[in-house]
Symmetry: C2
Subunit: 313 residues, 2 copies
């Protein structure tokens, strides 16, 4: 497996890496080209501090690159209206032309990877590239507990409410739903996990612990931009593990028939549909799953099945 990854890396940097080097930059340095390209990304220029963050450049270095682009008449830098400390860089017409030339070259280079192949292979290459890109993105997603009042958690909860309001016939009014306020999903009564991709919160989900009663799964949500990356599944697995770690033997949840992807995921994760177990007015499906006891905890020995050792990990 590792060998495959390394062969891939070698082949790809050999063919694709050539791109980021001197293909793009015409007679300009790579650093300048990158700055030029990044400024033109947004419609109306870009704050210098955003540039610095996006390109991960030293502030002195970036300043010098901007001066050089300014001297070539490709860029103007003016104080921001909102904050006199911040400066905003914008492309001049010449800069925009230069940028689209870079863009054209990048397109040409991309096409040169595909061009020699017959159509069938070409399509397979593009598909495989899509897979790799998605899965490398997925590998950047990190899941960690967060306080429900944390801005990232807040964002996920709001997005969750907004989405079900959009999808439920008749909308969704939190006040009419069963109470699962912020305090409930904090230790020791519960937990809330947030999935982050870089600095963006792309998913979340919570648990409510009910002592000897089954643990309840609440507010599981994945951002549309991150769907298909397995974030939901990973959140679910992590929540189940945390439920098991508290000694919970069963996890259950209520949901609504309009949330078809979620229901499909619950089923394929081993949840079985059960009879109504609460009075949630927005729910029309209820699911339940038995948890394997926490391996680190004090589960009953007999219940614990052998699991195959799962790799070097």
């Amino acid at each position: 497996m590792i060998d495959q990854v390394r062969r891939f890396n070698r082949r790809v940097t050999q063919r694709v890496g050539a791109l980021d080097d001197h293909f793009l930059a015409r007679d300009r340095s790579l650093g300048e080209s990158r700055v030029l390209w990044e400024i033109g990304l947004g419609a109306d220029g870009c704050d210098v501090r955003r540039l610095r963050a996006a390109l991960d450049l030293d502030s002195g270095y970036l300043s010098r690159l901007l001066r050089s682009l300014e001297a070539d008449g490709l860029v103007t830098v003016e104080p921001s209206a909102a904050d006199g400390r911040v400066r905003t860089a914008r492309l001049t017409p010449a800069g925009a032309a230069e940028r689209s030339e870079i863009d054209r070259r990048a397109d040409d280079h991309a096409w040169s990877l595909l061009a020699p192949l017959p159509e069938g292979q070409r399509q397979r290459l593009v598909d495989a590239m899509g897979q790799v890109e998605r899965l490398l993105t997925a590998a950047l997603v990190e899941i960690a507990p967060a306080d429900p009042a944390d801005p990232a958690a807040e964002h996920c909860l709001q997005a969750y409410y907004a989405e079900i309001d959009r999808r439920f016939a008749g909308g969704f009014d939190p006040a009419r739903s069963r109470r699962a306020g912020l305090d409930d999903m904090r230790p020791p009564h519960g937990v809330y996990l947030v999935a982050r991709l870089g600095d963006e919160a792309v998913g979340g989900g919570g648990l409510l612990f009910h002592g000897d009663e089954p643990t309840e799964l609440k507010r599981l949500w994945v951002s549309p931009s991150a769907r298909g990356l397995g974030v939901g599944r990973r959140l679910l697995a992590e929540l189940e593990a945390r439920a098991a770690a508290t000694g919970s033997r069963t996890i259950r949840l209520d949901t609504n028939h309009t949330l078809t992807e979620a229901i499909a995921m619950y089923r394929s994760a081993g949840y079985r549909e059960v009879d109504r177990f609460n009075d949630e007015r927005y729910a029309d499906h209820w699911f339940e799953k038995d948890l394997a006891p926490d391996p680190s905890g004090a589960g009953e020995p007999g219940v614990r099945g052998d699991r195959p050792s799962s790799g070097p990990g």
Copy 2:
């Protein structure tokens, strides 16, 4: 399609490109590390000129890097026994240790791409990487006509004979086969195509033109190292196009039942099995395919079907 490729490039250089940068090099410069790694590739050192070709370095620059590695006791450089001008670089034990440390880091980094993913996704990522690597390799294969006496063509023909000698029960003796000597596969009587990957010949195949009689396909071979890249199919398509360009309406070939992959390829490329049409003693299957007339030539208009326009070209 191009957008997908560019998204892929960006994601991959962001994640993988970090590898070739300062991850590998410990406190050493990247250039030195690359040289160290490359020297250790072969079992017994590496000629300086091969290093230069492999890493595409200026000779002065490479010399300096070698001096620096020599000063650190990682490498020795001695004149080659065969040619006093050439010098051969070898790793010292310390150099070998350093190299395997680099190797270990590369492994760790490769694993860090996979580690965050659950097992299923991990497998899919590795598979997709394999696809991309293979198809990028395939895109580097170039097919061009060559004189059958050219070393590359020679190599392919010899490899072809050696392979069928190995596979045929009772071996293969060219003298007892139907004559298709070097002169036959030269214009104007025929043509021979070679597929090259870098400077290695990885496949070849020839045609014999017989005037109004069907054109004959001969000696189609693909190197084991390049199988699965679609090289055979591309050779076949290119040969068919050249047959059609000479005005040939039909192409045919004889083959042996032990060459199962080839037979499968012929079938899927539209060849149909026909009765014995020659007295080749090593053949036990005969195939034939009608060619669409050469679009650039004087084919009958009615035969020519509409083909969907196939993209940007």
